[in-house]
Assembly symmetry: C3
Homo-oligomer: 205 residues x 3
């Protein structure tokens, strides 16, 4: 199935970008593998725990842990090459975001949750892994500070759930949502779109 | 019901104070909403996941997500006013702490857990949201460093569970516990009560 | 049972070393207790939540919370003595790592999970408490940066699951795995064994 192949590409891409974050923090090889697995599979795990969807993906398919750990290790070998592949990885990361989102919406929907919960489940699936990566690297999560990332995920999820609600075919809705989200994310990067920031200092200016 | 109205006031207050924390870190509007939701609803979510109480509050009532997200966004508009309302927000935060605590005790109690687990469940409900906020803002959690906050929560929970155990009416016990906890927290702020600190340095002094 | 006594020693040792971390961050007494409980019981809690094993250990046995909180408080009293007991605590921490690992493998195994999931469950039980401690202290987790810690846990879990798979007696396999893991960890500290690091900077050197 198309979604499964894209899911596998996405977890590999997420694991590889997480490995670069680990390298910036000079983590050891075990840390690189762990951070890769947590970043790639952590969003889906958090979603499953929050909506009580057992077993978790990597418990049912432990081979995904092996795939992400190997992808993270492989990144160490090709780190120099990665610098020149930055654009491809930005694209794969965007693909991962929208694929994770649609999969997350689906899991919640099949459990009978309403659309609002499904959209949140999609956003958690798409975004929480990166938040865990940033917390483990001791950064303020990028998600909270800049870039249209959570917004892209919410818009993709809303389009997907809306399309299904209106009775369009599941396959068409999936493809359109993925395409829309991917383009939205790409344009946001290309034109440097940002949400406005809220700047508050304790003392009156 | 009284507890529900107070719960709604509490999640709004928690979301608004979290929004100010987000503003101090210059997060964007999406980050402000996310931090507001996580701070207001994260403590209850962690409690539910730890004791296996499904569905979570915001899954059963997604409208609470909308309430907290809107409260967080609204805070951006009235940020200047918030500086003058500091005292009111300290009071609402104290109200939130004791209301969350009593609700958390109740959830665990109705699942048949013993009093000790119920008191811990109450403390997690009251305190964990703020810990998540501090972790996401990349601070050492305030809870661990100063102020009688967890202590107020534990004392409130112990009074509540003790009162029920002694056979007093649920409504009276609830009101007395809330009043006691709120007064305890207020006095702790007013008189700057602190727990002693444990200061340890690796080298002998 | 031997494993239970070792488990109790291990949670006490983990709580005490966590209390020292809390002291280095000048946390107050409540923070010391909370950090002790979270470090000692957090790994098992995360494992239980991830594989859906309810009730959690400390929910079924709230007395363990009291044990760890008291151990953390007691550490404040004997902090000066702790400096001279550093070697003993390194050993107790190593014991805790392997005991937690074997217990974690067992929990997953008894739920019918395959060996790969059991080994991961063992590693989470052994290592996640320390990661939570480091996150709450606002450090990049030690686990990701240095020392053979996760590696020892994985090797111990693999030996344990492999031994059971080959049909050896449970007690013999347990003792051999614990002995092997403990020796491995001890030798890693003694000879300063490290995993290689992955060092990556954004700019080409």
């Amino acid at each position: 199935m198309l979604l499964l192949s894209m899911y596998l590409i996405a977890i590999v891409a997420e694991a590889m970008t997480a490995a670069l974050s680990a390298g910036r923090r000079q983590m050891d090889w075990v840390g690189v593998c762990l951070l890769g697995c947590i970043t790639a599979l952590g969003g889906g795990s958090l979603r499953d725990v929050l909506i009580g969807h057992y077993p978790l993906t990597w418990v049912a398919h432990p081979e995904y842990l092996a795939v992400t750990a190997l992808a993270a290790l492989f990144t160490i070998a090709i780190a120099d090459l990665m610098r020149r592949l930055r654009l491809i990885f930005l694209m794969l990361d965007g693909l991962g975001l929208v694929v994770f989102t649609v999969i997350g919406c689906n899991v919640a929907r099949e459990m009978g949750h309403p659309a609002s919960v499904a959209i949140i489940a999609g956003m958690i699936t798409g975004c929480a892994g990166g938040v865990m990566r940033d917390i483990l690297c001791n950064d303020v999560p990028l998600l909270f500070r800049k870039e249209l990332y959570a917004s892209v995920s919410i818009a993709t999820g809303a389009l997907y759930m809306g399309g299904l609600h209106l009775g369009f075919g599941a396959q068409a809705v999936t493809l359109v949502s993925l395409g829309f989200g991917f383009a939205f994310r790409g344009l946001a990067i290309l034109y440097n779109w940002h949400m406005p920031r809220f700047i508050y200092s304790r003392e009156p200016e």
